[in-house]
C-alpha cells in the first residue's frame, strides 16, 4: 500500500480550493539504472476526486507528471465540513484513496 496523500481543502465563498500531494515514484520509463537497463514506467494513470461522494473530477495522467504529484483544483459549492475524497490508480493496478474535510 502506498503512502497516504496529503489533502487540504479550504473553503472561500461558495468554492473550495483543494490541494493534493500524492506520494508516488512516477517513474517515466526513460531512465536507466546503474547497469544500463531501462527502469520500467510506473506512474499514476487515473485520478478521481469526489465531493461528498459525488465524482467532480477525473483526470488521466501520463508518465511526465512529476514525482510525488501535486494537484490543485477548485470545487464549486463546497462548504466547510464537506468531504473531499481523492483516489488514484497507477499502471501496476495499485490504488489509494484518501479523504479530507473542507475547512
Amino acid at each position: 500500500m502506498a503512502d497516504p496523500m496529503r489533502i487540504r481543502a479550504q473553503a472561500a465563498g461558495d468554492k473550495a480550493t483543494v490541494r493534493v500531494l500524492m506520494a508516488h515514484e512516477m517513474e517515466g520509463g526513460q531512465r536507466k539504472d546503474a547497469s544500463g537497463n531501462i527502469v520500467p514506467a510506473w506512474y499514476i494513470q487515473e485520478v478521481t476526486a469526489t465531493h461528498n461522494g459525488k465524482t467532480v473530477l477525473t483526470a488521466e495522467w501520463g508518465p511526465a507528471v512529476s514525482k510525488n504529484p501535486f494537484l490543485q483544483f477548485v470545487v464549486k459549492g463546497a462548504k466547510a465540513g464537506d468531504k473531499i475524497g481523492v483516489n488514484w490508480k497507477d499502471n501496476r493496478g495499485d490504488t489509494r484513496s484518501d479523504e479530507a474535510t473542507v475547512s
Binding site: K15, M26, G28, Q30, R31, K32, Q45, E46, T48, A49, H51, K54, T55, V56, L57, T58, A59, E60, W61, G62, P63, A64, V65, S66, K67, P69, F70, L71, Q72, F73, V74, V75, K76, G77
Partner: protein, 151 residues
C-alpha cells in the same frame, strides 16, 4: 428467417466476443494509451479524437520562463469559458507529448495546477476542449536548464 431465440443467442455470443477482445469499455475510465504515447501535439489530439487547435486568449497558462530543474515544473492552466469538456497539458518536446488530461464536470472550475517533468526546453500547451467541439489553446515557452526525463 431467424426467430427471437436465435437472435438473442447470437447477440449474446457477439457481445461475449467483443468483451473478450476488450472492445467494450469496461468502465467510463478507459485509459487512452495511444494518446499518452503520441509523439506530437497533432498525434495526441488525433488519438483523443478532437479537432484542430485554435489559439485563444480565453485559455491561460502559467509556467516559469526558466525552469532550473526539468523534473519539477509547476504548470497552471485555466479558462473562463463555459462548457468545457476537458483540459489538457501538453509538453511539445517530451518523449510523449500529452502529460495530463482533466475531465471537467460542472462542479469544478476549469483551472488546474500540477507539476510536470520536461526533458528539454519546449513549448507547453494548455488546451481546452469544449463541448461544442472547439479546441482552444494557449502556449508558453519554458526553458529548461536541467532535463528531467533521462539520467
Amino acid at each position: 428467417m431467424q426467430n427471437r431465440r436465435q437472435v438473442l443467442k447470437q447477440s449474446a455470443l457477439v457481445a461475449g466476443l467483443l468483451a473478450s477482445t476488450g472492445l467494450f469499455p469496461q468502465f467510463a475510465f478507459a485509459f487512452n494509451k495511444n494518446a499518452f504515447e503520441a509523439k506530437s501535439v497533432q498525434d495526441a489530439l488525433k488519438a483523443l479524437g478532437v479537432g484542430a487547435l485554435t489559439e485563444s486568449k480565453d485559455v491561460s497558462i502559467t509556467a516559469p520562463d526558466i525552469a532550473e530543474n526539468g523534473s519539477v515544473v509547476p504548470i497552471a492552466i485555466a479558462t473562463t469559458l463555459p462548457g468545457v469538456k476537458s483540459m489538457l497539458i501538453m509538453v511539445e518536446k517530451n518523449p510523449a507529448t500529452l502529460t495530463a488530461q482533466f475531465n471537467v464536470t460542472e462542479s469544478v472550475d476549469s483551472a488546474f495546477s500540477a507539476r510536470v517533468k520536461m526533458g528539454q526546453s519546449s513549448d507547453v500547451y494548455a488546451v481546452a476542449v469544449l463541448n461544442d467541439g472547439k479546441v482552444l489553446y494557449a502556449k508558453k515557452e519554458v526553458k529548461v536548464t536541467l532535463g528531467g526525463c533521462g539520467g
